[in-house]
Amino acid sequence: MINFNLFVLPFFLGLIYVVFAIGRSWYRWIRSLPASDKVRLTTMFRQPRQVLLALGEVCTEALLHRRMWKRNPLLGYMHMSFALGWFLLIVCGNLESRYYSGSHLNAPYYPIFLKFFIHDRLVIFFEVFSVPGFFRFLMDLLLLFVLSGLVLAMVKRKRSKWFGLKRTAEFQLTDVVSLTCLWLIFPMRLLAESFTAGYYGSGGGFLTQSLGNLVMTVMPFTSEYIPYSMWWGYSLVLGLFFITLPYTRYMHIPTEVLLIFFRHAGIRPKKWYSGFSDAEVLACSRCGVCIDVCPLNEAGIVDAQAVYFIRGLRDQYVPESVSRMCLLCGRCQEACPVGLHTDSLRLIKRRELVSGQETDFSWLASAAPGPVALETRHIPRQAEVAYFAGCMSHLTPAVIRSMRRIMDQAGINWVQLDEDGSVCCGRPLMVAGKDTQASQLMEFNKNQVLATGARLLVTSCPICYRVFREDYNLPVRIQHHSQFILDLVKTGKIPLQAHFRKVAYHDPCDLGRGSGVYEAPRELLTKIADLVEVGQDAHNAQCCGGSLGIFTATQEQRNDMAAAALDVLLENQPEVLATACPLCKKTFAKQSPVPVKDIAELVCDAMPNPVYCSASGQSRRAGSYAT
């Protein structure tokens, strides 16, 4: 018997097309990787351990959707039932078809439409214990599994809140077409298999056979064209889904697999768009998890979230305003179930937007006087610790003063690099995409740090801390002041006396999500205060809205974001709001009903009889001027 019928063609052609399209994309992306990344990729495939690890992640993420489960069990189940259910249907269907054909090599459509070709009656009483009976049972169970996910997906469109999503991604026309196809595939399969089983009175499992029998009882039909037309329908929606897949969000299914391999090979985002960026952009499933976590919602901005930005990248049209409308707070990156580097993608786009005519800071490197008389041109004094307060800390002088007192109290030989006139750390330029200009500032600062001979660089600003760590390549240790002060307290160099009640801690984006420093500030604070719980903290902390990363938000929109963050922070009525970033402090201070203090200020307040320090490093005991 020849297992072929015309109706398999739409599916078969669609399959050929989608395999070709995916293959072509993968080839292009891999080809456009930088040479070093290509080496990484080939090296990985020589290490079975890495390949296994990658395959493991493919299973846990692309099939089981572990991160989705962590986000919301219902959402996790929905994604898993589609991915794992469909995957197992393919695998089991293949095994089942081998049983019938007796061959390991079957036409690709054969397992898919097996029930069209095979509808023999089983003669065994407990048919589930026979091989074909077991497969019929298993295939129906899997189909039910997928259909349960489909029901959830339909519910989700109306009641997304049950799935932990307040807002979901807006659809494009192509999304609607392929979503309709996807949603039709499994009901069509159910109908085709049931009607066939009903018509022949055999061949189905517990689900399809029962449904088929029911149909035959309720409205008996004699024409075999009724089930046959359903097989046509099933094949058509499959084919259409496959043909549209490369152009819709469902391209994320194959792309995520490649991306996981890329990541396991050690490929990281680059400064410019590459095959890796393509893989990230196409791996976005538009699940919409990033929408709710975005602080821009609080300001009524609903078109610049990561999902829309990435969609824009894919469509090769991102308005400049959308590229610049992002706090770079990293919340979406933290929440993304696919682990996309949303911030890096945004920065790549910003770099592309930079025109050739930008401010030139090359004069900093030369001996000739520049437009600004910079005292810091003088080589700074030698010291053990170099302190870089940062531009933002200059707007919060209480932080700088506290740091000076703390360092004097601990008897440290320190020098402040930006005491009188400073050069920016460079990160504000970097987040604007102006890396060339930033590197000019960085070169200057690097030389300043090296000139002190310091072994430790301490900064008060998490923005500076991050760029010093990530981009400066300095041969000295770098600490944020929360880590530095904690070390001083632990080694007994700073005595602490006072204890504060009810302090809430706000994680600055660049210190927490940006640099992974969550524990040091908390440990330090618990030594001087009772920390109150904050609803969304650490990885999930809200952004204050003051970020330097955003260029197109109005002050009013920023205020709205700050107000929303304050609502969360002050929920448990703290008496003081503590943070570890001068910018967060300034942003909150103007709106907060409770005092906002930097961690350094609190430590300074907790010290008994602090020494009063002067900028030049000469100390004297606190006198009448001390406040």
Binding site: T396, P397, A398
Partner: protein, 344 residues
């Protein structure tokens, strides 16, 4: 209908309204939070643009209050609740007043300069506010640095908390420009050897005699006006203050060391007005100050019957305008009471 009129707030707007109402034979009760009436003007020494003593103005208002005015001091209004035919005023000490006609003259608060942390108020001892300087003048003290020395250089900073989107106040406080000019002259009068540097965005000398005062400050008193917004202050070891700014007329960044810095703090909506707005449901502008029924044609009325607004509760205003506004409120109240009586 209650015959008694209640004015919440015994500052100059409330006093001027009370004086005018009692003069036309209406009974008025003024509720004042402080121990004495007079509001912010009690803290000022001399008033711009004529440099006459603030006390004279207060004395005049006090004398004109008349026999029909009762002033209750040291009493704070907690909430005001609408009742049939009028309003019930609950005070924090438990007293309750009922009235059919209410004038809100709760005024304003001064901007808390600590919110502009980069200017160092509350951190550096040689940074003070314009209100602190008035207090020094009023108490007849010498202007000195925190160490007790006579300052050789004083910096005056305009627009602190006003026209500053970053602190959330986009509006102009109207009186600070000329106050800065006035205080510069007063410092020069007191300390002839002291140099004054005023940092401004632009100087809004909008009212009568203001421009003349500005010219006088430059020509007679050699006050230096530099167009540039202060970026930040830093402190020297000797507690003098380094001002970092830009002279935007020459286009050069500027760093200047001064012995004392005076911050011209602006107006912010009064905390008491905010409380009352909540319980009465009065409208606020985007700036947080209360809105009258119509800003052109009904500047003292509100959309609530029998509730009127007088003075700086509606936004920044100078002494002259506030007194005039208090009197204008009296006319509106009189018209309302007459109509109520006719209706009765």
């Amino acid at each position: 209908m209650y015959k008694n009129i209640i004015i919440v707030g015994g500052g100059i707007a409330g006093m001027a309204a009370a004086a005018a109402l009692s003069e036309i034979g209406m009974e008025v009760t003024v509720l004042e939070r402080e121990k004495l009436p007079g509001g912010h003007v009690r803290s000022w020494d001399r008033l711009f643009p004529t440099l006459r003593a603030a006390k004279e103005v207060l004395d005049f208002l006090n004398k004109s209050l008349g026999l029909l005015t009762e002033i209750i001091c040291d009493i704070e209004v907690g909430s005001i609740v609408p009742t049939p035919g009028g309003y019930t005023i609950h005070c924090t000490n438990g007293d309750i007043f009922t009235t059919g006609c209410l004038v809100l003259a709760t005024g304003y608060d001064l901007f808390d300069a600590r919110k502009k942390e980069e200017y160092g108020f509350g951190i550096y001892e040689n940074v003070i506010t314009s209100a602190d300087l008035e207090k020094i003048f009023r108490e007849g003290n010498q202007v000195t640095t925190c160490g007790g020395q006579v300052p050789r250089r004083v910096g005056i900073i305009h627009c602190v908390g006003s026209r500053d989107e970053k602190v959330g106040n986009i509006y102009c406080s109207k009186v600070c420009c000329v106050t800065g000019v006035k205080q510069a002259i007063e410092i020069r009068q007191m300390l002839p050897d002291c140099e004054i540097f005023s940092f401004y965005m632009d100087l809004r000398m909008y009212d009568r005699h203001f421009e003349e005062l500005y010219f006088e400050a430059q020509q007679k008193w050699n006050v230096n006006f530099i167009r540039g917004r202060l970026s930040e202050c830093a402190e020297n070891p000797d507690h003098s203050i380094i001002l970092k700014t830009e002279d935007t007329l020459t286009g050069h960044p500027l760093k200047l060391t001064v012995d004392l810095v005076v911050l011209l703090v602006g107006f912010v909506p009064g905390s008491s007005a905010r409380k009352i707005t909540g319980s009465l449901g009065l409208l606020q502008g985007t700036d947080g100050f209360l809105l009258p029924a119509d800003e052109h044609t009904a500047g003292n009325r509100t959309l609530l019957p029998g509730v009127f607004l007088a003075g700086a509760v509606k936004g920044p205003a100078c002494v002259v305008d506030t007194i005039a506004d208090g009197r204008a409120t009296a006319v509106e109240v009189y018209r309302y009471m007459k109509h109520s009586e006719v209706a009765k």
